[in-house]
């Protein structure tokens, strides 16, 4: 227990009853049970969904289970009661039982399972037997006679009878005891090592078992190729929708989101293909559409027409209170400086590498200076000096930024993209206009990811939480500014996607014209979607996914599972 912990003790109390389903999860993997129950992570995957599909017939309560003392008088015909919720104080279990059959004075709990009968001597898995046994123990405590239970395997349509023996009951109680112990410790159990269970686990993408074990043992060291299994997709299936046409109307039609302009349909996107929706300025959206987005946990983001990120509408906050508690606590602890150091150091390093790769010779001194600033940032004694090192590095980097720009000569060469220093609010030249716009895109990206992971995006470690800025999003994006935002700006200029005529100027401020902004967003999206080799885990992954992995690793650091904050540096 570290200092911060002892001054803010976490008082953990368990609910009175353990759900039988949680005993099953715990027997399968203690970490899975902890993530689901204590940290309220829940992600339906195909197995659990299919489980629900198989359960669909039994999930509606029906039939009555006679009281235990009426069982004797019950007519000889069989009783079927579906979806019965029962608990028992003695063992401390609660269960929603799929089906209870009663006959000849005895009851028989039937638990539905997906798939076919396992090919092992017991014709069942231990976690399932334990879950069934817990149900039987609840029934017994409620006065029923219950010598056996049944596991019903939906795919092979087979029943496997399980005798509720004393040995099984003892094993079930032992698992319950371990479960209580782990829950009360407040420590997340470690991931299973190289386990064949992980690829089939519904929380693999949240748990990141191989990544966590690697980071815990060799923080931020490059893993050997194929040593780490990527147990989640390399890129997202769903993509964002941006609506910036003023006067556009967004509505819902069946399973699609429809965008109309002056009554004419201009786009329709299936909800399953939608990751989030960004609305710029005067765009209307119907309540039906908002409701559907909320129901599907698809974030809806509002921006000013100019691109200022105003807010996000995303339903309920994540239920992982433990993480938010650690996040707030870390602000007062040493973690805060440690995180800030890593973020700034990574940012400077990534800027240096971008500069080295993209500019002709003549920058050697600047690159050397950046290397020094990088080192200083890594050793900064406090936030003030860290801010100083960062400011210094940013000045050097932006001084040389224009050496990376090679606009087409036909477009007047560099004259249209004259850039000397970074300025904002309002940006006073085209390059600054694009940088600001790109940073706002990156901010929303991290705001979405942080909310999904369970953070409060407004409470940062490096950036101060003020003026409603999503400070943690600003923190987390530091290393990615050069890698994503700056490099998109460089590429749209150098490839002639954006030219000097693509800007409007009013009162000294520059902004992209709508069509050019569309092209800019598409370039940004391609960058987010492009696959790179992860510098630490050595597998192929999209930038957008990298952001989520970074946020999850940061969470694991704050929860005490990792010794150092996660880094991200291109090599």
């Amino acid at each position: 227990m570290n200092e911060a912990e002892s001054s803010f003790p976490v008082i953990l109390s368990l609910p009175d009853f353990i759900p039988a389903r949680m005993l099953n999860e715990f027997a399968y993997c203690p970490r899975l049970c902890y993530l689901e129950w204590a940290q309220q992570e829940w992600d339906d995957n195909e197995w659990t969904m299919d489980g629900n599909f198989q359960h669909r017939r039994v999930d509606r309560p029906s039939g009555d289970l006679p009281d235990a003392d009426e069982m004797e008088e019950q007519a000889p015909e069989a009783v079927h009661a579906r979806s019965v919720m029962l608990s028992a104080e003695g063992c401390g279990f609660i269960a929603k039982m799929d089906l209870i059959e009663a006959e000849a004075g005895a009851v028989l709990p039937v638990e539905y399972k997906r798939g076919s009968v396992p090919d092992n001597p017991e014709r069942s898995w231990e976690p399932e037997r334990v879950q069934l046994c817990a149900q039987a123990m609840i029934l017994r405590e409620n006065g029923y006679v219950c010598p056996t239970g049944v596991l019903y395997y939906a795919q092979s349509r087979q029943r496997v009878e399980i005798a509720i023996t004393d040995a099984l009951a003892a094993r079930t109680l032992e698992i319950a005891r371990e479960l209580r112990c782990v829950m009360q410790s407040g420590e997340t159990p470690r991931p299973l090592q190289d386990s064949p269970k992980c690829p089939g686990c519904s929380l693999a993408g949240i748990c990141l078992p191989d990544e966590i074990l690697h980071e815990a043992a060799h923080p931020n060291a490059e893993a050997e190729e194929d040593a780490i299994r990527r147990l989640y997709p390399a890129r997202d299936d769903a993509a964002p929708l941006y609506v910036q046409d003023q006067g556009a109307y967004v509505g819902k039609s069946n399973e699609e989101l429809v965008v109309k302009l002056k009554g004419t349909k201009v786009a329709d996107i299936r909800f399953i293909d939608l990751s989030h929706v960004c609305l710029y300025g005067n765009v209307q959206i119907s309540t039906q559409a908002i409701q559907e987005l909320l129901k599907r946990s698809i974030p809806l983001l509002y921006f000013s027409f100019g691109g200022w990120f105003n807010g996000i509408c995303g339903g309920m906050p994540h239920k992982n209170v433990e993480l938010r508690r650690r996040q707030y606590r870390a602000e007062y602890g040493k973690e805060s400086l440690e995180i800030a150091r890593v973020l700034v150091q990574n940012k400077i390093q990534n800027s240096r590498i971008l500069l080295r790769r993209n500019s002709a010779e003549g920058n050697e001194d600047a690159i050397e200076d950046l290397r020094r600033a990088e080192q200083q940032a890594g050793e900064a004694a406090n936030m003030e000096s860290l801010l100083g090192f960062e400011g210094n590095a940013a000045r050097i980097y932006f001084q040389h930024f224009s050496s990376m720009l090679k606009p087409k000569e036909s477009d007047g060469g560099l004259s249209g993209f004259d850039f000397t220093t970074r300025n904002r609010r309002p940006p006073r030249d085209p390059v600054n206009a694009m940088l600001s716009f790109a940073y706002s895109l990156l901010t929303k990206e991290f705001a979405i990811v942080l909310l999904r992971v369970g953070f409060d995006p407004f409470m940062g470690f490096y950036h101060q939480p003020r003026y409603g800025r999503p400070a943690l999003a600003l923190d987390m994006m530091e290393p990615f500014r050069p890698l994503i935002a700056d490099s998109v700006v460089i590429s749209v200029i150098n490839n002639g996607v954006i030219q000097s005529k693509d800007f409007v100027r009013s009162a000294g401020a520059f902004a992209l014209k709508p069509d050019a902004r569309k092209a800019f967003i598409m370039t940004y999206e391609r960058r987010m979607d492009s696959l790179i080799t992860h510098p630490i885990f050595n597998y192929r992954i999209s930038y957008r996914r990298v952001l989520e992995v970074q946020a999850r690793l940061l969470a694991r650091y704050l929860l005490g599972e990792l010794p150092t904050p996660p880094e991200f540096c291109t090599r």
Partner: protein, 96 residues
């Protein structure tokens, strides 16, 4: 990790046909009268089944889901069309 499916259906009542059609629009692109091309994760496949299942008549109607390979894979390039071309529309970010 999505897979590519050809989903085709034979629904014997116009009212149910319309319902299935509407559900399918949420999961894929219509390529022929009662044939859809759908890229689905295992989870989305089950979501689709859960929506269609209560709508169809289990003795009279039929919905077939034919997996033809990973989404974005090579197999789709081998599809040949006589007459109208086969043009799957790619999806990605949309900017309006």
């Amino acid at each position: 990790m999505r897979r590519l499916y050809i989903v085709m259906y034979d629904i014997s009542h116009p009212k149910r046909l319309r319902k299935v059609f509407k559900i399918m629009r949420g999961f894929g692109d219509r390529i022929q009268l009662s044939v859809f091309r759908a890229e689905l994760t295992p989870k989305e496949r089950i979501q689709m089944m859960m929506k269609i299942n209560p709508v169809i008549h289990h003795n009279e109607d039929q919905v077939l889901m034919i997996p033809i390979g990973p989404a974005g894979g090579e197999i789709e390039k081998e599809i040949e069309a006589l007459g109208r071309p086969y043009e799957p529309c790619p999806h990605g970010a949309v900017v309006v």
